[in-house]
């Protein structure tokens, strides 16, 4: 081993890593015979010791406790969000929001029957499905109105009452989860049937004039499965 070869190995020797026994013995033998390389090895070992002093000065230095607290909070929030977006939870969310929306619209319907518009055709989905298993009815581009506009622009349903296949519906009302999102042609509409008692179970005030009959509602779903808008439907 010459001095150049030794120099390449000095760090490994000082750190006691990366050398097999035979190479180590050769390098140490060279250092014993070469004062200059021996001095280089001494300096490399001093450097290793100095670096270990620096490392030991920080032993036990941890991230402040607030980091763990923050991360645990994030972990809880994130997985709570994921849980509510799971298919099962989404179904409940649909039911819940449907209840809220239907309750709100029910109040309007009961006292403002004129807000239904004649649809002029049977619902593509046929009879309504239950609230716990909404049926995909159609894909369309719903015209969404704000509740205020909806009430002001509705047509009277008088002619429709003579046609048993005729369906009336309110305009779509945007839900908070829409968050201003635009509606497109490929969005899904599901129809659910909600009993007034189900609305009451949400703790919402429901007028006794609603009776026991289920309320039909069409929900526009976003890509994430969350409802974006709702309308009430009435078949004659």
């Amino acid at each position: 081993m010459n001095c150049a070869e030794f120099s390449e190995l000095a760090s490994d020797l000082a750190r006691n890593e990366g050398l097999d026994d035979a190479t180590r013995q050769k390098a140490l033998a060279h250092a014993d015979a070469c004062p200059r390389c021996d001095e280089e090895l001494v300096m490399a070992r001093e450097l290793t010791a100095a670096l270990r002093s620096l490392a030991s000065s920080a032993v036990g230095a941890d991230a402040p406790a607030r980091v763990e607290e923050f991360l645990r909070r994030e972990m809880r929030q994130r997985h709570a969000t994921i849980a509510i977006r799971s298919p099962r939870a989404t179904r409940w969310a649909v039911g819940g929001i449907a209840g809220l929306a239907a309750a709100a619209l029910l109040s309007i319907v009961l006292f403002r029957p004129g807000i239904f518009q004649r649809q002029g055709a049977t619902s593509p989905g046929g009879s309504a499905s239950s609230a716990s298993a909404p049926t995909q009815v159609s894909q369309a581009t719903p015209q969404v109105a704000s509740p205020t506009v909806n009430a002001e622009t509705s047509a009277e349903p008088s002619a429709a009452t003579q046609d048993s296949d005729t369906e009336y519906a309110t305009a779509y009302v945007s839900l908070p989860s829409a968050d201003g999102a635009a509606f497109t042609e490929d969005q899904t509409i599901v129809r659910v049937s909600l009993p007034p008692s189900a609305l009451a179970s949400f703790g919402l005030p429901v007028s006794s004039a609603a009776g026991d009959s289920n309320v039909l509602a069409d929900f526009v779903l976003g890509e994430d499965g969350m409802p974006r808008a709702v309308r009430l439907v009435r078949s004659q």
């Binding site: 670096l51 620096l54 000065s57 036990g60 230095a61 406790a65 980091v67 972990m75």
Partner: protein, 209 residues
Amino acid sequence: MLREPEYSDDDLLRRIIAGEEDAFVCFYRRWQGRIYRFALHMSGSASVAEDVTQEAFMSVVRDASRFDPALGTASAYLFGIARNQVLRRLEKDRVLVPFPEPGDESRDSQSKIAGNGHDAISVPPVDLARKQTIEHVREAVLSLPGHYREVVVLCDLQEMSYEEAAAALECAIGTVRSRLHRARTLLAAKLFELRQAEPKTAVRGRGSN
């Protein structure tokens, strides 16, 4: 709470993906110290180290499923994230904040050594020569270019093997060895320079009085 030795990193990461907070806490407590100290030695700043640690583990919270045990260890995964964060931060800041002195209450994480339960205890006193050596080494390490500094921090300060460092840095073992050799040569030169400068400063100080 899950106990440390009972679960491998891979087990914990699987549980984290399933949303188990206990698994995350176990994983965090297992690794946070090493990640924090890596960032601390790389940046010289307790606040950067805190941010880097938080961001590295936020990556785990956000998407632990990105970790693929077939491609490397959890250690390499975490150090890889932390390294990228540190380099990005150093590039952005371009300012190295010196380590706080022991007893500096404004920098809690460095002036105190935290135990397992994060209960702080005082740093034991060190003698002047040792303290001076530590400060010189710290300054010398921080003066190294980033790609040399990281191998020194991983191999000499974190005591990783060449193989572990290579996995964390996503490079060949030979690259780690050669960079470390070069880094140590630069460190030795810097330390020599710092030691030479020390007596001159003292002489100037006495002469001015």
